[in-house]
Structure formats: structure tokens, C-alpha cells
């Protein structure tokens, strides 16, 4: 027991690692603030294109979505960060992560929006079109507001996944929360900094997970 506390909950080491882990948290928050809006907007674009009049565009969107749902995000990130430089395309770790996340998340968010759009009855479109709104206006003013409301739990759940996914950035040496605490671990030969990072992730994400769980149970029983 004492050994477990010594190795995983060592207060002294945690305090020592605090500044570096704190900076890592800042980077994680900054990264999330960049990739969540990117993903939300990219996904909206994917969903709108997926609803296109042209069969070819719809087909390409399905290929895009299935492709990026099949590739693990880490593979994508490593490809962008270490593969593309061979072709002369060099990006900072932060840009690589943003690009990888944009490609990956827009596919996932796109699927969520699509489910929402499909949940809205055809009558809504027909009614809106018959009042003289264009296809685009109908989508923006009539369909999307209702669609987003219907899939709000899925949007939240996906966003939680995105924040968790930012930990992958540690693999390309972007000093976010996990990278910083892993560095502190390798300096101190003690797992406490990682436990600290885990606790920070818990503090950030647990409330949303709990709310989401409530949400889902309510939906299931209604």
C-alpha cells in the first residue's frame, strides 16, 4: 500500500511537477479551443455537401467519411507529421495536429449532423421551400436549428472524444498535458505526474460525461 502511494500519489513529486504540468494543461486547452471549432465547422461542411443535389458529390462525401472513419487518428497524425516532410511539406507540430484533427473530426461531426438532418421530416423542407426560401436558406434557417437540437447529446459526446484525442499530440512532441506529465515522469522515475494529468482530465471531462449520461438515459426511457 505504501509503495502504491509512493509510486502513484507522491505529493512531493506532484508539487515539483506542477509548473510543467500546468503549462501542459494550457497547451491542451489551447489545442482544444483550436480543433473543436475547426471540427464543428468542417463537419457542417461535410454534412451540407452530403446533402448535395449532385449524386457524385454525395458519393465523394461518403468515401471521404468512410475513409477517415477507418484510419486511426494517430496514423493520420504520424503520416502528416513524419510522412509529408519526405514530400517537402513541413508543418509545426501544432499545425500537424490541427490538420489531422480537422480531417478526422469533420468526418465524425459530419455523420452526427447527417443523422440530425435525416431526423427532420421532409414536410419541413417542403413547407419552407414553398414559402419561397431557397434550398440553402431552408437548410440554414429551418432544418439545421432543429437537427442540431436533436443530436445535441451526440455532439457533446463527440466533443468529449475530441478533447480526449488531443492527448495524441504528445506523440509528435507537442507539449500538451500528457506530454508534459510524461516528461515529468521520465525525469522523476515516478508515475505520480501521470496520475496528476489523469486527475486533471477527470476534472475537465467528468462533469460533461455525467451530464451526457443523464441525457442519454432520459432519451432511452422517454
Amino acid at each position: 500500500m505504501e509503495q502504491i502511494i509512493q509510486q502513484f500519489f507522491n505529493i512531493g513529486i506532484m508539487i515539483e511537477a506542477m509548473p510543467i504540468v500546468w503549462r501542459g494543461l494550457g497547451m491542451t486547452l489551447m489545442l482544444s479551443a483550436a480543433v473543436i471549432p475547426l471540427g464543428l465547422m468542417g463537419g457542417l461542411g461535410v454534412a451540407l455537401l452530403g446533402d448535395s443535389r449532385f449524386a457524385l458529390v454525395r458519393f465523394l462525401v461518403i468515401i471521404y467519411v468512410d475513409f477517415f472513419r477507418a484510419i486511426p487518428p494517430l496514423v493520420l497524425l504520424i503520416f502528416i507529421h513524419t510522412g509529408l516532410p519526405f514530400a517537402g511539406i513541413r508543418m509545426s507540430p501544432f499545425t500537424s495536429v490541427c490538420l489531422a484533427f480537422l480531417l478526422n473530426n469533420s468526418a465524425y461531426y459530419g455523420e452526427v449532423y447527417r443523422a440530425g438532418i435525416e431526423s427532420i421530416g421532409k414536410g419541413q423542407t417542403e413547407a419552407a421551400r414553398s414559402t419561397g426560401l431557397s434550398r440553402f436558406q431552408t437548410m440554414i434557417y429551418v432544418i439545421l436549428p432543429q437537427a442540431v437540437r436533436n443530436v445535441l447529446p451526440d455532439l457533446i459526446s463527440n466533443t468529449i472524444e475530441v478533447v480526449k484525442l488531443t492527448s495524441l499530440a504528445s506523440v509528435v512532441a507537442l507539449p500538451e498535458l500528457l506530454y508534459s506529465s510524461d516528461m515529468a515522469r521520465s525525469i522523476s522515475y515516478n508515475a505520480s505526474p501521470i496520475v496528476m494529468a489523469a486527475i486533471i482530465y477527470l476534472i475537465i471531462l467528468w462533469p460533461s460525461v455525467r451530464i451526457l449520461s443523464r441525457f442519454e438515459q432520459k432519451l432511452a426511457t422517454s
Binding site: 486511426p72 494517430l74 496514423v75 509529408l84 484525442l165 471531462l205 438515459q217
Partner: protein, 227 residues
């Protein structure tokens, strides 16, 4: 050299592809092993936890909910590093392979529990009452009446979640498991050429596109119907 030739030389260099095909193949097998084990262990764990939870024993449920919430809030990579680098210090030595299976099974188990539980609670109370009144016991009702209906509703969300978590086997690279991504990055640094990574990406697409496609089919077939 034209642009196009340069592109081919960087990402599809034939000599490199031939040379590293066996390594990527070995990685492919390891990824498949990981994926199958994680899916079996994770979904069984989730089902067991959901069944235990349906007996409504307060203390046990509290622990299940806490465990599930924690596993749903933490990035899997954090848990993998914690298990891989932390546990040996207290005398528990797991290989990277074991750590990946343990962590991903736990994570999938947590998500699956939540999905199964939502499925079980979505079954109308009348079903419970009707089957209890025919003389079936609590466990019999659960297994023969409620679960078959609940599982049907859980299939679409469960497939999506399972695909997402199975893809995390690529995280094995970080703890030195010889799966596709690890083999590909090693081969890339030996050959100073991006072709192995391209092969790795293609291997993942070959492995997961059929599953994603199947998931899409299942989703439309079993679409979550509201009564």
C-alpha cells in the same frame, strides 16, 4: 524528375514496398489479434457490468458508475502510459501487448456497459411485469425477455463505439507493440522513405473500411426505433 514521379518515389517506391511488405504483414496480424481480443473482452465486460447493474444493488451500482465514468473521461493513452510505466514500480510487469488489451478492453467495457444499460432501461416496464407474472424469475426475465430486445436496440451505437475503440490499437506503437503503425514507422526511419507509412495507412483502410461499411448497413437496418 517530374512532380508526379517525385510523388511516386516518395509514397509508392516499389523496392521499399517489396522490402517491407513482410514487416507490415506481421503488424497486420498483431493488429488483428489485438482488435479481436479487445472486442471480445470489452463487450463481454460491458454486458456483465450492465447485468450486475440491473440488480440495483446500491453500493455495487455506485462503484460501477464511478468506474465507467472514469474510464469514459480519461484518454486511453493516459491509461496506457500509466499502466505501462507505473505498474512495474509496484511489481506488476505487463508487456505492451497486455497493457493495450487491458486498457482498451476496460474502456470498451465502460462504453458498452453504458450502451447496454441504456438499452435495458429503454424496455417498457410492462415487459418486466408481464414476464414476471408468467412465473419467470428476475434473472430469467432479464436473460430471456429483456436482453434480446435490449441488445437489438444497442447494436448501432455499439458498432460505432467498437470501431472507434478498436482503432485505438494504433496507440500500441507508443509502448512498443509491433502492430501496423509501429512496423510502418520503424520501416520509414530505416528506409528514409514514406512508402511504408503509406502501406500502413492502406493496411488500416483494408482492415477497417469493410467494418465501417458494415456498421453503416447495420445502422440503417437496426435504426433506433422509438415506440
Amino acid at each position: 524528375m517530374t512532380q508526379w514521379e517525385r510523388f511516386l518515389d516518395t509514397f509508392f517506391k516499389w523496392d521499399v514496398i517489396v522490402q517491407y511488405l513482410p514487416a507490415i504483414g506481421r503488424g497486420f496480424v498483431v493488429t488483428c489479434e489485438l482488435a479481436v481480443l479487445v472486442v471480445i473482452c470489452g463487450i463481454s465486460l460491458g454486458l456483465i457490468l450492465a447485468l450486475i447493474r440491473s440488480y440495483q444493488i446500491k453500493i455495487i451500482n455506485f462503484f460501477i458508475i464511478c468506474l465507467v465514468d472514469i474510464l469514459r473521461s480519461l484518454p486511453p493513452l493516459v491509461l496506457i502510459l500509466l499502466f505501462y510505466f507505473g505498474l512495474p514500480n509496484v511489481g506488476l510487469n505487463f508487456s505492451g501487448f497486455m497493457v493495450v488489451i487491458l486498457v482498451l478492453s476496460f474502456v470498451l467495457g465502460a462504453f458498452a456497459e453504458e450502451i447496454f444499460w441504456a438499452g435495458i432501461t429503454s424496455i417498457h416496464k410492462g415487459q418486466w411485469e408481464a414476464s414476471r407474472s408468467t412465473g419467470l424469475g428476475y434473472s430469467q426475465t432479464l436473460v430471456y425477455v429483456i436482453l434480446p430486445q435490449a441488445i437489438r436496440m444497442t447494436i448501432p451505437p455499439l458498432t460505432n463505439r467498437t470501431i472507434a475503440i478498436t482503432k485505438n490499437t494504433a496507440l500500441g506503437m507508443v509502448v512498443g507493440v509491433g502492430e501496423i503503425l509501429n512496423q510502418a514507422t520503424i520501416a520509414q526511419s530505416f528506409s528514409s522513405n514514406a512508402s511504408p507509412l503509406m502501406m500502413g495507412a492502406i493496411a488500416y483502410v483494408l482492415l477497417f473500411v469493410p467494418i465501417v461499411y458494415l456498421g453503416r448497413r447495420i445502422e440503417t437496418r437496426f435504426a433506433w426505433k422509438k415506440n
